[in-house]
């Protein structure tokens, strides 16, 4: 439990620094969408944020060793799920970070609806995947 709390605290601190520092919501799907925007002001902070996210991996490996990461899904499911996540977060304007952490922290009704929706459909998807032995 302590690991989960510490990890969550780091995510919260990251989002807090971005908000208090430059007044931006730390949503990863927003960052991804911003990176595709050429010649627009908010592309730059998104690129730096993205670089920091990638840089955290070698830092973690150095301090704590290689983290566990098991993907069980097959290739067809990986592609289908990736497309759904990419389209869904664009259409719904956020994911577990923008809606889940920042939006709920702001007590935004939109983000609460979004969070309940993606949680419910995530639970449903896992239930069906397990039923089909995938």
């Amino acid at each position: 439990m302590m690991n989960e709390l510490a990890g969550g605290a780091l995510i919260g601190i990251a989002a807090a620094l971005l908000w208090l520092g430059i007044g931006r919501i730390g949503g990863i799907s927003g960052v991804i969408a911003n990176i595709f925007l050429i010649n627009q002001g908010h592309r730059n902070w998104s690129l730096y944020f993205f670089a920091g996210l990638l840089a955290s991996y070698p830092l973690y490996v150095l301090l704590a060793g290689t983290p566990e990461m098991q993907i069980t899904a097959n290739k067809a499911i990986l592609v289908a799920a990736g497309l759904l996540v990419g389209m869904g977060t664009y259409i719904g304007n956020g994911c577990t970070s923008g809606h889940g952490v920042c939006g709920n922290g702001r007590l935004s009704l939109r983000s609460m609806v979004a969070t309940c929706t993606f949680m419910a459909f995530g639970v449903l998807a896992v239930f069906i995947m397990n039923l089909l032995n995938l």
Binding site: A9, F36, M69, G82
Partner: protein, 117 residues
């Protein structure tokens, strides 16, 4: 949180549910909520002229349908965008494939549905 196997355990409410990841969200939301409350007493961020507060307030079909599609994809593999991008650094082809599909999905939605107004 970067481990898809753990995320799927977290979402497996009707099976072998592992609720520990709830603590990640509770800690993160609490800290951000405190920072947000602090920002309400500030005129501007530390290094910028304005707070870019999200402008959308309406709960519409777009929000619910988008979030539902995201939820399905999230449950199928156990990866949401943040951990997916981070896991590219592991060099595993499965993650690269997932992220490539994610980026293509983002562009498909951009050119078909377009940005929210």
């Amino acid at each position: 949180m970067n481990n898809p196997a753990k995320i799927r355990g977290f979402l497996d409410v009707f099976g072998d549910w592992q609720p520990a990841l709830m603590a990640v969200m509770v800690a993160a939301i609490t800290i951000f909520a405190l920072a947000y409350a602090l920002s309400n007493k500030m005129k501007q961020p530390w290094f910028h002229s304005i707070f870019h507060r999200p402008s959308l307030t309406v709960i519409d079909k777009r929000l619910v349908i988008g979030s539902a599609l995201f939820g399905i994809g999230w449950g199928m593999v156990g990866l949401c965008p943040g951990p997916a991008l981070l896991n590219v650094m592991t060099g595993q082809w499965d993650v690269v494939l997932f992220v490539a599909a994610l980026l293509i999905g983002n562009r498909i939605a951009h050119y078909t549905v377009g940005p929210a107004k």
